[in-house]
Symmetry: C2
DNA sequence: TGAATATTGATAATGGTTTCCATTAACAGG
DNA sequence: CCTGTTAATGGAAACCATTATCAATATTCA
């Protein structure tokens, strides 16, 4: 009955606690990056060489469903994942994406004001369109300083 | 030298005005939906059966580059496109996405306040992270009223 | 009009993600 | 602890949106 919140979450939904699942959480816990399935696989193989890429995809999908990870598309042709409640990160943040080198910055500037407005908007939208809103994304796209220098 | 703004834009960038390009603009002008490349292709074939899907992709890519259309990912595994300055739509809007049936609603509620905050945020982020910001996306994800009823 | 060249469209290739299915591992009940 | 039931795994093949290739065609402009 004890254990990290994500184990609790798995249990609540009737899913089993397995090595691959724990390993993937471990990898996501230890990075500030937004890893793709294959990047996670590469790290995972170092720990357990017999793990399969299929399992990575399946697990990330499961975790996304139950809210343990969040799946993003930043426009580079592959999905990227981030642990919900990553201890290395601020809880709520939005994203700044370099369309050239694909660098992703988590920013929290103005996030308080943004959140306030987001909540207000979310309420209004829920009422007006009868939507049950789960989450939102805010992405700013542009060119990072390094890519600007390099032309 | 005259003609719609997108023709001007093509010309400014040194691209030619061709039938497929005009046709794709026409299709996007006449819908409020967010069409995928294949959906556009299906409409295009009705007008010119010899058009190729490749051309659709190429053209949408070109239009995205020069700002004539905007490309979005709403999480259903294919890119979706929307004409910039579609006469059927409000200029600036954000999106409400049903994760179940993939319905997409353009909303403009609070968009004025949002935009104000977005501009402020954009300025602050540009300065702080030395980013040259081109655009942003705001997506709310949830379940639409119909999908709620259907369980 | 005709040469120069940008664009097109058919086909094949790519690559991230899913599906399939036989094998393995988790775990509740004994 | 065993053990049976059933969920989870991993390798291979399939899937499918998107891209690359390249010969044929259309546009532009002198
Ligand atoms: Mn992030
Ligand atoms: Mn829209
Ligand atoms: Zn960059
Ligand atoms: Zn729906």
């Amino acid at each position: 009955m004890k254990g990290p919140w994500w184990q609790q979450r798995l249990c609540d939904y009737g899913f089993r606690l397995t090595n691959p699942r724990a390993m993937i959480i471990g990898i996501l816990r230890n990075t500030e990056k937004h890893l793709s399935a294959e990047e996670i696989y590469i790290d995972a193989v170092k720990i357990n060489p017999s793990i399969g890429l299929t399992t990575i995809y399946r697990t990330l999908d499961l975790f996304t469903q139950i809210g343990v990870v969040q799946k993003f598309d930043f426009g580079d042709g592959r999905a990227r994942y981030e642990l919900t409640n990553n201890p290395l990160k601020k809880d709520h943040h939005h994203h700044l994406v370099c369309v050239k080198c694909k660098t992703i910055i988590d920013y929290t500037d103005f996030v308080h004001e943004e959140l306030e407005l987001m909540n207000k908007t979310e309420k209004a939208l829920s009422r007006k369109y009868r939507f049950n809103i789960y989450h939102h994304t805010v992405h700013f796209y542009g060119i990072c300083s390094q890519c600007q220098r390099e032309g």
